[in-house]
């Protein structure tokens, strides 16, 4: 067992390798039971009587450790000393990673795991007591401290090379490891065969610069990062979850602004005109143009024209010209209204509408009137020969051509200033959703790349 509950690191001691007599420095001489000779790579076991026995010949390390043995650094509020360096791989796959064994004189062991330049600080229940309450239930997720950890990988770890000192037989153990991720955290469950309980470890993704700063090491020595780490935090996910939290408040804020604006500039009717159209007999389908009474806009406003004509199996087209009486600036709108209905194959049908809406933007303050140029189709209703035109019977008979012509429908034009423009609201909401959608897409792309390294990806593998 590592020596703990001390107030400072214990004094280092040198021991001689029983094979080559090389002096090996032990940084926790009381706690360490195994060490590796840096000269001949003998894996040495210290028995209870402090007799050093060579247990096995360890393979030489393939990479020089970035953090030197014996280097000290303050990390996450704890003072650590690097006392071991281990190279590991998956038993049935070529994936290899490196672990730096860290010793703290109060709590015991922790480590830095480095894979493809991605660093994770890993510690057990000595540093995270809540880990002691977890049970291995073989599920595909684990809930721990408000995070849901999802199964990422399962493998058996094998130690391929090592240097330094240890308090357990690391060279021969083959722990079956299961990883669950909730970036930037990762949970490891290690189950060593023939041991009853699985051990839980919590890892947190760590930027190399933090480690370099803590252990006063040149950042240039750190391996280059490759790909996406299993627990590497996604900046896109951070942005997405932040936006996801804020978006409802923003939409409510927009609605408040909309209602506030309608309070400051309330909607009001500026014109409500009814006119019985009178056919211009000189031109087919056209009616005599007419002018509406004047109206005044106190300030720049949007205007909504509602044009209503009770056409029945007929059409009406009205060209409406809004004219500023001061400078003759004008806005011209041509709207068609069509409404047809009937009974066919045992069913009633109808199409079109008897009204149309037109929205004009930013009409300056001033005095205005409307010039209206109506046109409409022939009515389908005929009147008895000889019937006279009057207000209740707007149809007349042209006896020369035996065709029916009418006085045309009544045109009702209602003009509203400062209408509530819902399209503005929804367009703004749509624009506000563009960046969140982009962020969500980036997050999803990032996560798909991360999970490409897993056999348990929740994403479609053929995408």
């Amino acid at each position: 067992m590592a020596t703990i509950n001390l107030k400072a690191f214990p004094y280092a001691e040198d021991v001689a390798c029983p094979k080559c007599k090389h002096q090996i420095t032990l940084y926790d001489p009381e706690g360490s039971e195994y060490c590796v000779c840096t000269s001949c790579n003998s894996f040495i076991h210290f028995t209870k009587n402090d007799i050093a026995l060579i247990q096995k010949q360890a393979a030489p390390i393939s990479q020089q450790p970035v953090l030197k043995l014996g280097s000290v650094g303050m990390f996450k509020g704890f003072q650590f000393k690097v006392i071991g360096y281990v190279e590991k791989k998956e038993q049935s796959a070529p994936y290899a990673w490196r672990e730096y064994i860290l010793y703290n004189y109060e709590q015991g062991y922790a480590n830095f795991a480095e894979y493809d330049g991605h660093w994770t600080f890993v510690a057990g229940k000595e540093f995270y007591p809540a880990l002691g309450e977890l049970k291995n239930r073989g599920w595909t997720f684990i809930n721990y401290e408000e995070n849901e950890y999802t199964l990422f990988s399962k493998y058996t770890a094998v130690t391929t090379a090592l240097i330094g000192e240890f308090d357990w037989d690391i060279l021969f153990e083959r722990p079956k490891t299961t990883e669950f991720v909730a970036p930037p955290q990762i949970l490891y469950i290690e189950h060593v065969p023939n041991q009853t309980a699985a051990q839980f470890y919590l890892g947190e993704y760590t930027e190399p610069v933090e480690i370099a700063d803590a252990f006063k090491t040149d950042i240039k020595l750190f391996p280059e990062r490759v790909g996406i780490g299993s627990n590497q935090p996604s900046v896109h996910a951070q942005r997405w979850f932040a936006i996801y939290k804020l978006l409802p408040f923003i939409v409510v804020f927009m609605a408040v602004i909309g209602f506030g604006a309608s309070y400051i500039s309330p909607q009001y009717e500026v014109l409500d005109s009814y006119h019985n159209t009178e056919r211009d007999t000189a031109k087919a389908n056209e009616f005599k143009p007419y002018l509406t009474p004047s109206f005044e806009l106190q300030k720049q406003s949007a205007l909504n024209f509602k044009i209503i004509a009770p056409v029945d199996n007929n059409w009406l087209e009205a060209t409406v010209v809004l004219v500023n009486e001061k400078n003759n600036q004008s806005w011209e709108v041509t709207e068609s209204i069509e409404y047809y209905h009937g009974y066919e194959d045992g069913e009633n049908w109808s199409e079109g509408s008897q009204e149309a809406d037109v929205l004009l933007s930013a009409i300056p303050a001033g005095k205005y009137h409307l010039n209206i140029y109506p046109a409409a189709g022939e009515p389908t209703i005929s009147t008895p020969p000889g019937a006279a035109y009057n207000s209740t019977n707007p149809y007349v008979l042209n006896t020369d051509s035996i065709t029916v012509k009418s006085a045309g429908p009544t045109v009702h034009i209602n003009v509203t200033a400062n209408p509530i423009i819902w399209k503005n609201f929804w367009v703004s909401v749509l624009l506000l959703c563009l960046y969140p959608l982009y962020t969500w897409w980036r997050m999803r792309t990032y996560e798909k790349k991360r999970w490409m390294n897993s056999d348990y990806s929740p994403y479609e593998t053929d995408e």
Binding site: L246, I250, F253, I264, S330, E332, V358, N424
Partner: protein, 59 residues
């Protein structure tokens, strides 16, 4: 909350621009999409530009 605002700071700048223009439009009667049938004749006071989807003609 500060962390959330920090993570969403780019978006919040975007939000300020959109909400600012939305508020300005709401107060000044600007419709983002005027009806497509509207033709503006600016042929007044010696100005001869015409804006809109149809060529303007005066009946």
């Amino acid at each position: 909350m500060m962390e959330t605002i920090k993570d969403a700071r780019i978006y919040l700048l975007f939000v300020l621009l959109i909400i600012g223009y939305y508020a300005y439009s709401a107060i000044n009667g600007i419709a983002f999409w005027e009806s497509s049938t509207v033709t503006r004749n600016t042929e007044y006071n010696n100005n001869s530009r015409t804006r809109g989807v149809h060529a303007f003609y005066h009946k």
